[in-house]
Symmetry: C2
Subunit: 344 residues, 2 copies
Amino acid sequence: MTVVLSERKKQILKAVVVNYTNTAEPVGSRTVTRVYRMGLSSATIRNEMADLEEMGYLAQPHTSAGRVPSQLGYRYYVDYLMEKDGLSMDEEQALTSSLSTEKMREIEQIIINSARVLSAATNQTSLIMGPQFKKSAFRQIRILPLDESRGLVVLITDTGFIKNKVIDMKQHLSQAELQQVVSYLNQKLYGLTIDQVTTSLINELKRDLFRRLEILEQAFILLEESLKEERQIRVFLGGTTNILNQPEFKDVDKIRRMLNLFEQEPLLFKILEDTSSENDFVIKIGDENECEDIKECALITGTYKIRDKTLGTVGVLGPTRMDYSRVISIMRLLVDHLNMSLSS
Amino acid sequence: MTVVLSERKKQILKAVVVNYTNTAEPVGSRTVTRVYRMGLSSATIRNEMADLEEMGYLAQPHTSAGRVPSQLGYRYYVDYLMEKDGLSMDEEQALTSSLSTEKMREIEQIIINSARVLSAATNQTSLIMGPQFKKSAFRQIRILPLDESRGLVVLITDTGFIKNKVIDMKQHLSQAELQQVVSYLNQKLYGLTIDQVTTSLINELKRDLFRRLEILEQAFILLEESLKEERQIRVFLGGTTNILNQPEFKDVDKIRRMLNLFEQEPLLFKILEDTSSENDFVIKIGDENECEDIKECALITGTYKIRDKTLGTVGVLGPTRMDYSRVISIMRLLVDHLNMSLSS
DNA sequence: TCTTAGCACTCGAACTTTTAGAGTGCTAAG
DNA sequence: CTTAGCACTCTAAAAGTTCGAGTGCTAAGA
């Protein structure tokens, strides 16, 4: 499929992509000769560019304008031409230090902060999918009596989720009775992922317990509601207003569509889930994206882990005219940091 | 201070406000005669409008355009002319039902949903300040041993906040010892608001306990971090993209400033706090607002309570051209609902 | 065969001019 | 005090103009 390009064509294509990424203006043949002097006249460049256009790597907004990379052009650039490290030492250090500011312990805090840093560093919008509660393994359940008629159910997973819920207990339970129920539940559920705790399993447990105690109906509500409630995994956004700085979004209507999308968590989740690959970063350019609303954008995604278990996805969303090299470098740094600070 | 307006001037002012609220177009004298026929010719209306302009209630975008209410005009309308109930029975019912969809128990869920409903019903941006953790009263603290070296500290307030934190316990504590520490803490702290739990109090407690047990340093971290961490109270937003539909925000630059504001929680908090009054709704029009960024907007705020204790603030933010009557009716409904569902 | 200077041509962005109509203020008569 | 009538104003939209960056093509040179 991939047509072989002459070395000169590659250089020109790269020049166009880089220049367009910086300026957001169509790139003319003279600009190419001026900025990336390669001992050729503009006329020659012109001929080459005409070729590249015919091959589909460049496009012209109108007859008498410079060239702009097409989607295919970006794809070629990303696959074969891009420099691998788009980050200076200085930037790298600055970034590292802004990531490891404090001993943040809360998982949610870490992620919110990461989203912020990522969007600030890339000048794009960042999306981070929080750890998936459903995929976590059940660790233990506890019931704390609060007063006469109420108790606190606490549910803990291996990835550090702690969910709690106040429940009404219609009848009073003695400490011993409670203990009994709790240890029974722990024994049955230990090690299962939340996904695996199906309604039918819950019902089975209920039947078992009801024989002995008719009281704990409410206790199961935590389990059941956890299942429902967390169906929508949380997606954390950073720098949603950054798209306003991109010249390709100077149209209020586009802005509206974009911001609307940002408000719909399930859609964002789907976007991130569709693209994620376990091991490396994925770049989706233009209509390589499934989602209709971001077919004019590029999306770069990667995953982060806790102790080799894939937990969530990190993404950067921006116009196709994006500094791919730089963004990927930043994301790599961030993901490494995330892996580290979540594993402790 | 308030100049007395003739009945006719009041009617005309009201007509201009209502019409402008609906159309967002300057209102001409002919429009007034046509739509609100009051047996007068446009020339007469014109004279009256010229008077109203001189008095400062109306303004003209340019010489040959219709009139637009000035800030003072809105103020007069809101204070003296506005219909009190801007909501039809049907709408009221629809609203009530969308508020009480499910038996939502989580306080945060209730508020998020409220923000969504409020913004959808008003077509404006809604802000709801969550219950202030700091103002809540300490109810009880518990420590759950998780395994050999770790425990879960749970802190519960009278307004239903439950905060938890996993702590490392350097030395193993027996159940009895733990029990002793916990009941000591509960006894000392019960009934204090989180505000009142100062660092010095904590230190005093520490000193007391250290005499007996040198272990629980970590347990205090929950308390201390709770104090710091929650300094920024959460503000929940709904319908941030609604401002994009307002013609007064067709300028990308204004949009940017506005959305930027929305991303800065501390500012939002300040805006809500500045305006809140315990008992009734407050309407701030234009530069009656402290905050520079919303001097072109109108902000309506009210408070909600749990059992007569003021918990937080609800706000609606939009252009000064707003259907005040309708928005207030909706907010009244919402606040009542909120008071009810939070008190159970 | 590849490169390049030269030139006519194209097209959009920015600026200016024109036009149409909504709305005003003023005057004089009812 | 009200109103018909009219000249006047001002904007938004349409139409027209200018300017320059950039192209494609041709023909001459390496």
